[in-house]
């Protein structure tokens, strides 16, 4: 029962939602809407699970005094500060907004700006034309990198049009192929889950 009931629920809800997509009758749409509202409510609870998991992982690192455990303490302190500021202050304002605008935004932007330096290092060390395919990729990458910024237009007015052709023709063709493959795989996986063949979501393996 412990393993059968979840499979029955997944099968029933999943196939009902598929059928409801094609049947515009009010009864089907109302039940479909109710199920969707339940889903949204359940998703909101995932925020709490995320916070709980974050606290558990960091407390564990602090207790075991792993490397740089002091940063885990700082993380938990700021988590608590933001939560208290959000609960105590007025929605969308006050201390929470101050902390968001003056700490969270600049720090988040700074973290991502570090990527620029790592890309520069990768450009020197890893972007090497070791094979004919890699050479083709590099040539396309160099053309797009120059054509995508104003200096490309400044060097030659036709550069942006060349880059647009690369994006619209070979890039689109390749992306479409990848999307078709990925989506067929997704449909296959969804059917396996609906039919109970794939049960990894329960913590078990395949049939």
């Amino acid at each position: 029962m412990k393993r059968t009931l979840p499979i029955v629920i997944v099968f029933a809800c999943g196939f009902f939602m598929i059928i409801a997509f094609f049947i515009p009758l009010r009864g089907f749409q109302d039940v479909s809407q109710t199920l969707q509202n339940w889903y949204i409510g359940v998703i909101a609870f995932f925020v709490f699970i995320g916070i709980f998991n974050l606290v558990k992982v960091n407390v564990d690192k602090i207790q075991r005094r792993l490397r740089d455990w002091q940063y885990n303490v700082i993380l938990l302190i700021f988590l608590a500060i933001m939560m208290i500021a959000g609960f105590v202050g007025r929605p969308g304002g006050g201390v929470f907004l101050y902390l968001f605008e003056n700490f969270h935004i600049p720090l988040g932007a700074t973290m991502f700006s570090l990527l620029a330096f790592f890309v520069a290092s990768a450009a020197f060390r890893a972007f090497r034309a070791r094979t004919p395919e890699a050479t083709l990729l590099l040539i396309a990458a160099v053309l797009v990198m120059i054509g995508r910024v104003p200096i490309g237009y400044y060097i030659w007015h036709g550069f942006p049009d060349l880059v647009e052709w690369i994006m619209t023709v070979p890039n689109t063709a390749a992306k479409r192929g990848i999307l078709f493959g990925a989506d067929l795989g997704l449909i296959s996986m969804a059917l396996r889950v609906l039919l109970g063949i794939e049960r990894s979501y329960m913590g078990g393996g395949k049939e």
Binding site: Q29, Q33, Q36, N37, Y39, I40, I43, A44, V47, R90, P91, G92, G93, L97, F100, E101, H104, I105, P106, L107, G108, A109, M111, F112, S113, A116, F117, V119, A120, S121, A123, F124, R125, A126, F127, R128, A129, R130, L138, A141, V142, M145, I146, R148, V149, P150, I151, G152, Y153, Y154, H157, P160, E164, M167, T168, N171, T172, K175, R176, L179
Partner: protein
């Protein structure tokens, strides 16, 4: 030891210094490179231009502070265009931090055009649920939206009462940095309800949107900071994105130089063997 032998072994922090200088110097001493306008950006601009006054544009702020540098300028430029055309803005977000960032842009731009909250624009805040939420939103907004971002009952605001379903939305602009984002708007909203979708994405996501541009599931695309700079140029609001173009141009040239140098080292190592 010749120069290529030195390049094999040198400290990569020297590269970091070059990148830092390439970013800082053009910001302090602008070059003023002209910004060309590409077709995907022009399509977004033309669509907004074609909307009659009073049309409702949903602006979905689907990014977090990590992508703020690329997408916030696009947010401000797009809002500027909407308010200049007297369009009504219905802001929301699929990411928790998105509506707060969007609110910052609203507070900058709306007062310039004497726009009134609740009448000309509204922010309903973060809505969890991704694709399922979008399906419900398009069918019946009241099922999901009871209050706005600040907790005000949505029915007490004229614009809140005006938007009941996807039929009332004339255009959706999603400023998207990942998942959930533009793909969900296309699949779960536009495909179902027919509302046209435009998007501004980070530069790394932009190539992935071309199949949807080609099939007209997206009406236009602002790709990265360059896309934002193009839109700022079109709406005659030269701000952060245009200012960043000189630095971006120099850094891109620098990266190309690094690639060429790295391949020269590779050729040299192969010859040595």
């Amino acid at each position: 030891m010749n120069i290529l032998d030195r390049l094999v072994k040198f400290d990569r922090r020297i590269l970091f210094v070059f990148v830092a200088l390439a970013v800082i110097i053009p910001l302090l001493i602008p070059i003023g490179l002209p910004v060309d306008i590409t077709r995907p950006v022009k399509h977004v601009y033309d669509r907004v231009e074609s909307l009659p006054e009073g049309s409702i544009v949903v602006v979905s702020v689907d990014y977090d502070p990590g992508s703020e540098a690329e997408l916030y300028p696009a947010t401000e430029a797009f809002l500027e265009h909407c308010f200049r055309k007297n369009l009504r803005v219905y802001m929301m977000g699929l990411w928790p931090a998105g509506p707060k960032l969007g609110n910052m842009a609203l507070e900058q731009i709306a007062p310039k055009y004497n726009k009134e909250y609740g009448v000309d624009y509204i922010n309903i805040g973060y809505r969890p649920g991704g694709p399922v939420m979008l399906v419900s939103l398009g069918r019946n907004v009241a099922d999901l939206v009871r209050t706005d971002y600040a907790g005000t009952p949505i029915d007490s605001l004229p614009l809140g009462r005006a938007v009941k379903s996807a039929r009332d939305m004339d255009l959706v602009m999603t400023l998207s940095a990942g998942d959930p984002g533009v793909l969900h708007w296309i699949i779960y909203f536009s495909a179902r309800y027919g509302t046209p979708i435009a998007t501004a994405t980070t530069a790394i996501m932009a190539p992935q949107q071309y199949p949807y541009l080609s099939s007209r599931q997206l009406i236009g695309l602002l790709g990265g900071l360059k896309g934002a700079a193009e839109y700022e140029t079109l709406v005659e609001r030269k701000a952060r994105a245009v200012a960043g173009m000189d630095s971006q141009s120099i850094v891109h040239l620098l990266l190309v130089a690094f690639i060429i140098l790295g391949n020269m080292v590779l050729l040299y190592q192969r010859r040595k063997k």
